[in-house]
Amino acid sequence: MPSSIRRKIAEELTGAALPFVAFCIALNLTAGQLTAALKIPLYLDSIGTILVAVLVGPWSAVLCGSAANLLAAAFGNPTMMFFIPVVAVIGAFTGVLARLGWFRKWYLVCLGGIAQGVLAALVSAPISAYLFSGVMMAGTDFLVLYFRSMGNTLMDSVLYQGLASDPADKLVSYVIVFLLVKNLPQRLLARLHGAENLRPPERTQ
């Protein structure tokens, strides 16, 4: 790993960030328990990654998402391994948006969520199409089937399915994280590297 990347990761991973990233990886893997208890049709399997991206940094978010998928594979769902590039992109992109201050304003959060969803669909389409033929044993498989029956290629069908569902899913996750972090006390956030992402910019005279 190039030393510049190592340095950036080391900057992000302060003492408090280490357990927080571990917690967010665990949250990615157990968030389904919450949504199942509330019977809400949401996945929230990237919520930990987005939290880390906003509160710690993009490199830590890549680590968080990748580790969560790796552990999911280890716990009996090996298909998750193949989507590591997707979650890595989610983490990196969200981290960059957070650095640019997009998590300070609700309308930028919404825009960012939609953009993230489009990006996730673009990255996951080739994986889903080539390895899985678009079959993920989820409700969205019917969308793929529909697009294919309209005469579209497999790749296009999977891409259209992703574009139809991912932006909405990521928008919801972004909004949830925005609502979670916007009222967190600054004295707590100060111990995490990404505190600057949420602090309002200082006005210049």
């Binding site: 571990a22 917690f23 665990a26 157990t30 680590l63 716990f75 090996p78 033929s133 079959v135 967190l184």
Partner: protein, 252 residues
């Protein structure tokens, strides 16, 4: 005591199977899938490490069988080319689609079975220790191990917060919108308490000198002393297959 195979050998086997998943035809891929399943039941070092792993394997077999069937069926119906092999509910099944489905399904199964076999037969902590000997940084190691610790405690904590919020009158049984708002009232204390706990744990780690740690390895684990001979052999075999496959693909 179950005989153990070095983790590096198992990883090399996974890599070999992955190379085969892209190099061989669907018939050999399907055969290798059956070999993987047979290995799980016959070779002690590849047996599941726990009941949970064994259940995960069985569950995934059923799931993957369903996925494979759907992949075959959908492609046979939607890719219309070559001979028709009959009809299902008035929809024709085509040769080209069936072959494409067979290739996709067998490749997917082999890729996933290889990964699953590795993980069910290798305790995660052993894998993390192996990675440590190969240079995984202390921080990454700590994150992975702490995640396993949190995974043990987080479900109970979530349940506790759920009960507490329910007792406060959070609308956990109301309509979808109300339940979605309840989600925030569950996540908020969870995230806040996790940040507070992370700060305390992080401070404690710093107070024990963790961030100044120089060595990657645990004292009880020697640093990597080179590669196992069997690992090298399997890696060479993978390389040979890969190179031959590339030559086969090249035009002319």
């Amino acid at each position: 005591m179950t005989p153990r195979i070095d983790i590096s050998v198992k990883l090399a086997v996974v890599l070999l199977l992955w190379v085969c998943a892209f190099a061989f035809s669907w018939m050999y891929q399907a055969l290798l899938c059956l070999v993987v399943i047979a290995v799980r039941f016959t070779i002690p070092a590849f047996r599941p490490q726990s009941q949970r792993s064994a259940r995960a394997f069985s569950r995934f077999l059923l799931y993957s069988a369903a996925v494979a069937f759907l992949v075959l069926l959908l492609n046979s119906l939607l890719i219309r080319g070559g001979t028709s092999y009959g009809t299902i509910l008035g929809f024709a099944l085509y040769e080209e689609g069936l072959l494409f489905g067979l290739r996709t399904a067998s490749r997917l199964l082999l890729l996933t079975y290889a990964v699953l076999l590795f993980f069910i037969s290798s305790p995660l902590k052993d894998l993390i220790r192996f990675l440590q000997t190969r240079g995984l940084s202390p921080s990454f190691t700590l994150i992975l191990l702490l995640t396993l610790h949190f995974l043990d405690h987080l479900p109970a904590r979530i349940h506790q917060i759920f009960l507490a919020q329910q007792a406060r009158g959070a609308p956990v049984d109301a309509g979808v919108l109300a339940r979605s708002r309840a989600l925030l009232s569950l996540l908020s204390p969870l995230v806040l308490s996790s940040i507070v706990e992370s700060i305390d744990r992080g401070t404690a780690l710093e107070l024990r000198g963790f961030l100044n740690r120089r060595t990657n390895c645990e004292a009880s684990i020697p640093s990597g002393e080179g590669w196992n001979f069997l690992t090298i052999l399997i890696l060479i075999l993978s390389m040979v297959i890969l190179i031959l496959t590339i030559f086969r693909w090249l035009p002319g």
